[in-house]
């Protein structure tokens, strides 16, 4: 048992970190914003924490707090212009944001180390810290589901005009979703920095964005369990397929196509829908029968 845990610790750590990023992405999609900014916000958080630790020797707790603030602050500022855009245009504007963060991190070599990366970050976040952060995030999202806020997000996502007539302030709610998402992304960015010894700008670029998005969409983008399931499958699957060596990505691609074709709303959402449909279809027991 002990051996097993040691062998799989890196995998568990990776899963916990990416779970955080997946929920950061999930919150904005829940509120009806097609934002892909999570990768950029995570990058801002990671570099804030990393630079504070390496250049100023700041305490990790301070670094984490600063990264969380920086993430949510950047997200709030970003939400103002994004309120003017809708749908795919939001997606592309946020891709542009991710790319800007990437190029600035790459260019600002004296501060960030540029393409060589930011190295020698003291490792202060172990599996325990990651687990606490991931569970906290999971609880936050699960609790939000049950409040007025969660219902407001649902209303905005399903029909913006209807939500507005019901008195939901759309701009304010979406800004709030952004700030939350930015805070979570910044927090986990900082944890990534304090976990991995080193950072490089390419870590938070386009491929990372696509990976996070696929966790949420494959798992299911409406139910709370969706990102959990999606992240678990997409992190563990390549590991299971390790014996296939060079064909690993091939199998991964085929799996993505098959799963989304047969469970088109994502795994959790499709299963929940199917379950509900079955319950509704079941005939009521007749009253007079013995």
């Amino acid at each position: 048992m002990g051996q097993w845990i040691i062998a799989y610790t890196p995998l568990v750590d990776l899963f916990l970190l990416h779970l955080g990023f997946a929920y950061a992405q999930y919150i904005v999609l829940r509120a009806g914003v097609f934002s892909l900014a999570t990768a950029g916000l995570a990058g801002i958080g990671a570099y804030t924490a990393g630079v504070l630790a390496v250049k100023l020797g700041a305490h990790p707790a301070l670094g984490v707090a600063a990264a969380t603030l920086a993430g949510s602050g950047a997200a709030l500022v970003l939400s103002l212009p994004l309120a003017r855009l809708r749908g795919v245009y939001q997606a592309i504007a946020t891709v542009a944001f991710v790319q800007i963060v990437y190029s600035v991190n790459l260019w600002a070599e004296p501060v960030t180390g540029g393409a060589m990366g930011l190295n020698n970050i003291p490792r202060t976040a172990g599996t325990g810290v990651l687990a606490v952060a991931a569970l906290g995030t999971l609880y936050l999202v699960w609790a939000m589901e049950r409040t007025r806020l969660g219902r407001a997000f649902n209303a905005i996502r399903q029909d913006e005009a209807m939500a507005a007539t019901l008195g939901v302030d759309i701009v304010r709610h979406q800004a709030l979703a952004f700030a939350l998402s930015g805070a979570i992304a910044g927090l986990f960015g900082a944890l990534e920095a304090y976990h991995a010894y080193a950072l490089d700008p390419g870590q938070f670029a386009f491929p990372f964005l696509i990976a996070i998005l696929s966790y949420v969409i494959l798992g299911g983008r409406n139910s709370v369990a969706g990102p959990l399931i999606g992240t678990a499958i997409l992190i563990i699957l390549p590991e299971l397929a390790r014996p296939l060596a060079e064909n690993r990505m091939l199998i991964y691609g085929v799996m993505l196509i098959l799963v989304i074709n047969f469970l088109p709303r994502g795994i959790a959402d499709s299963l929940i829908l199917a379950w509900r449909a079955r319950r509704l279809a079941r005939p009521e027991p007749a009253a007079g029968e013995p």
Binding site: R86, F97, R157, I210, S214, I217, L218, I257, V259, I260
Partner: protein, 299 residues
């Protein structure tokens, strides 16, 4: 110097146009972002390279690349989008399945090329350089520009002057109404994907010839630029994508040529910041319509 850079930008813009037109055509008709478009572009370069490597002439390689990429694109449509379209989940689901297709195509290319960077043999395309009015123009540049413009004109003729194009535009506007008029949308979708893939394949060959670095990941930056271009032009708008391609190609070349070297690392940041600002003042791109970018089903 300025004229030279303008010319270079124009040639690059032509290649971007080939890539982006197919991308925007598919978005216009299906409202899906085909993230396998970069991989299809790459497969064009691969097909042409292996044809030439096997001793075939370049024109044959180009023809096979255009047809082959078109067929791969049709396959992507059938495997990735058809079933999702039926249940109405293609907007988000299509992102995942086309990422899957992209991974599959790229892994196959990686295996075939053994992760090597491939180059067309020297003089596959004759190296001829003319100098006049202080300009330096290679035959390859002229060929790239001519092929790009010719394909764009052919595409324009197809879309705006033939019965097929009328059907495509009808399905783009309203699939149900088009069906009631006796148009078979399934066939139109397949034909659109073929056109889109064929254009991307041609772009792949040109890029492979010009920059002589054919690699299984060569589609990735183009996918990013393609995104920018079709948004800049207005989603689904063919004239918009054309205009945006040339603007983008020129802008990129100009920045590379004239930026002081201290901040030349920020070129990408400037381009994307400009895109961001442009979207704020024209939320639907240069020539896009209001409804084009809206998500259809948010459930």
């Amino acid at each position: 110097m300025l004229a030279q850079q303008l010319l270079n930008g124009f040639v690059v813009g032509g290649v971007y146009a080939l890539f982006a037109l197919g991308f925007t055509l598919v978005f216009g008709i299906q409202r899906v972002l085909n993230l396998a478009h970069g991989a299809i572009f790459m497969s064009g370069a691969f097909i042409a390279y292996y044809t030439v490597a096997a001793g075939g002439p370049l024109w044959l390689g180009l023809a096979l690349a255009v047809i082959g990429s078109g067929l791969i694109s049709v396959l992507v449509e059938i495997v990735c989008f058809r079933r999702l379209r039926r249940s109405g989940d293609e907007e988000f689901g299509g992102i995942i399945s086309s990422i899957g297709a992209s991974l599959v195509i790229m892994t196959i290319a990686q295996r075939i090329s053994d992760t090597q960077v491939l180059r067309f043999p020297f003089e596959t395309f004759p190296v001829i350089i003319w100098r006049f009015w202080g300009l330096r123009v290679s035959a390859l540049q002229l060929f790239m520009l001519a092929l790009a413009l010719a394909l764009v004109v052919v595409l324009g003729w197809f879309i705006y002057r033939t019965a097929f194009g009328r059907q495509v535009r009808a399905v783009t506007q309203n699939e149900r109404a088009a069906m009631l008029m006796g148009i078979n949308p399934v066939r139109i979708h397949m034909q659109t994907f073929f056109l889109s893939g064929a254009l991307a394949g041609a772009a792949g060959v040109l890029v492979g010839l010009a920059f002589s670095s054919i690699r299984y990941t060569m589609g990735e930056p183009f996918l990013m630029y393609g995104f920018v271009i079709i948004i800049l032009g207005g989603l689904g708008s063919i004239p918009g994508a054309l205009l945006a391609s040339f603007l983008f190609g020129m802008g990129q070349t100009m920045l590379t040529a004239y930026m002081p070297s201290a901040i030349s690392g920020l070129n990408e940041a400037f381009i994307f910041a400009a895109l961001f600002l442009l979207l704020l003042f024209r939320p639907h791109g240069l020539m896009g319509r209001e409804a084009a970018g809206a998500l259809r089903g948010r459930r």
